[in-house]
Amino acid sequence: MGEFLACTDGSEYSEKAVKACARAAMYSGYGMTLLHVIEDVVTYAELPDEPGYKILKEKANQILKRAKQIVESVDKNIDCKLRIAHGRIASEIVRISVEGRYDAIFIGSKGTRGKLLTRMLIGTVTDEVIINSHCPVTIVR
């Protein structure tokens, strides 16, 4: 059995990507992992009691909880894992997709950062994932 990786930062497009991934998992019987990457917190990871890190971690948990609800709204029987990672967002997504031997990455066409630039078609993180990924990448808009 295979497994899909859905990346979310809580933005509108990423939630659509989560939904698309859940549908694909439902139709194929594959498992899926919801991934949220906390950006650039090498120092935070070393200081787990730092208040700023606690806020980000709390936010990450909320984002994943909402994403999980979206998955359950599609199908309750999907084998869905949650994962929080730290580091550069695109690099972590690619690294985890290779390490976990995922069959495909599902990602929004842009996330919280690209949203502000309405003329930008594909977000910078998504772009980097497409360029460096080893597996098929599904872009959801």
Binding site: A17, Y27, I122, I131
Partner: protein, 137 residues
């Protein structure tokens, strides 16, 4: 449910067809293979000779794609379609017309420089398609 894969006969497209066929297989879906003959110019004065050669070429590309699907997923239902027009616009239009659940498309090359380029067609398809687009390298 029906998926669609776009092919231009290139190597990257072959990989996309393979992935699309496997996706269709695991999710019990049909697959539509599409090739678009690029034409930005009006067909009002068609040059029949070159048009004939192009359709012939298109048929070869489609046949090659069919070989790949039978190799990787002989049990799926495959349909084919050849269209003429601006490539990305035709892909988006046909995906909508056929009620496609996901488009599969290859991204060009693996060289460092080419890696940076997604290709105009792929870029446009991602932006205008009504459904998720899967990029395969």
């Amino acid at each position: 449910m029906k998926y669609m894969v776009c092919t231009d006969g290139e190597k990257s497209a072959a990989k996309a067809i393979e992935v699309a066929a496997q996706f269709a297989k695991i999710s019990n879906s049909d697959l539509l293979i599409l090739h678009v003959i690029a034409s930005e110019v009006s067909r009002a004065t068609p040059d029949y000779d070159s048009y004939g050669t192009q359709t012939q070429k298109a048929q070869t590309i489609i046949n090659k794609a069919l070989e790949i699907t039978t190799q990787f997923a002989p049990e799926i239902t495959v349909s084919t379609r050849i269209a003429v027009g601006p490539v990305s616009a035709e892909i988006v239009r046909i995906a909508e017309e056929e009620g496609i659940a996901g488009i599969f498309i290859g991204t060009i090359g693996s060289s460092k420089l080419k890696k940076l380029l997604l290709g105009n067609v792929t870029d446009d398809v991602i932006h205008y398609a009504h459904c998720p687009v899967t990029l395969v390298r």
